[in-house]
Amino acid sequence: MTHTIVSASIVSLTCLACVALASCGETAWAHSAGGASSGFSSGFFHPLLGLDHLVAMVAVGIWGAFLGVPAIWLLPVIFPLVMAVGGVLGIIGVALPNVETWIAVSAVAIGLGIALALRPPLWLAALIVGAFAIFHGNAHGSEMPQTADPLSYAVGFVLATGLLHLCGIAIGLLERSRTGRVAVRAAGGIIALLGGGFLTGVL
């Protein structure tokens, strides 16, 4: 019993000491990873904080999972490669017309594909995803040269895009159960609606 009381007191005192030390934390703020980390985080958060990019990337993963093997892996392989081509165009100053509109259209199209359970041939699905990837890449690429560290930015946004695809695949795999199938198709509908919101300027 005594042992328990002593332990509790020590824990409380330790916690209080930690809180006291924590309140002095501002002075110790000292990150120094420099341009590499800021470039990486800037690139990494670009697809995550842009809701239009985010929903479209997740949609690609969901659609891939929905279409099954080999699309489940083929689409996430094709997308970054074609997106890089779009990124290259953006970096060298070739601005594609209506990029934001096409990004919104990608969310609508792929979202509808999921919601309506469309299963086009693999080549057509790859073509659709690839075409949209160019616009996503162009949007990322056109902003890249302005960042502190473009190389880290490139690594960050490609990694974030890939991880969003994997998130989409994870969601899409719910399709294996009956309830999950409904949830996945509902998610497709929501993505299409969000895309519509971006397209019309509501969002």
Binding site: A8, C15, W29, A30, A36, V77, F79, A154
Partner: protein, 193 residues
Amino acid sequence: MNPRRLFCVGAAVLLPDTASAHEAFGDLGPFYTHMLHPAVDPAQALVLVGAGALLTRQPIATVKLAYAVLVVAGALAVSILVLVPFASPGLWLTATTTILLGLLTISGMLLPRWMVCALCAAVAVLAASALDMTGTGLAVLQKAIGGALGLAVTVLFFWGFLDFAVRRIHPVSAAVVGSWIAAVGLLILVLPS
């Protein structure tokens, strides 16, 4: 949970700046600075990650030999760099190598053993050239050992990580990562110098 502990945790949570209040790297000394160099130099890390990904797609017998070649080539390149400093060949070569490694990883082709060894040796030399080996005495020795170890550890780590993903998640995981590597290579190929 004990209410007092809960209160303390709650109080700590209200001060989130604390979680960020540590030095990211600081002055680690020549050994650790060079060993951890791939963590702060994305160009160097890219080719090493690419080599790790390529090895994931090759048979284990090839991996053992190619990894040994990479370690030896890295150590030799670092040693030569100490004696004869040579300039880093530039980002275009890193980009080209990265694209090549990424595409080979996507394809999943079983390459001839000599070719995998040659690629690993080239990657080791390229990655080593990113290290700063200026200085004298013990500091240079520490830089050299740390740098060579850093190259070896980075490739081994990514090979192990991807090999785990290939075995436990899906065999095509390496191809997905290969596409990311090739995509980054393609982007940095056109980056303004």
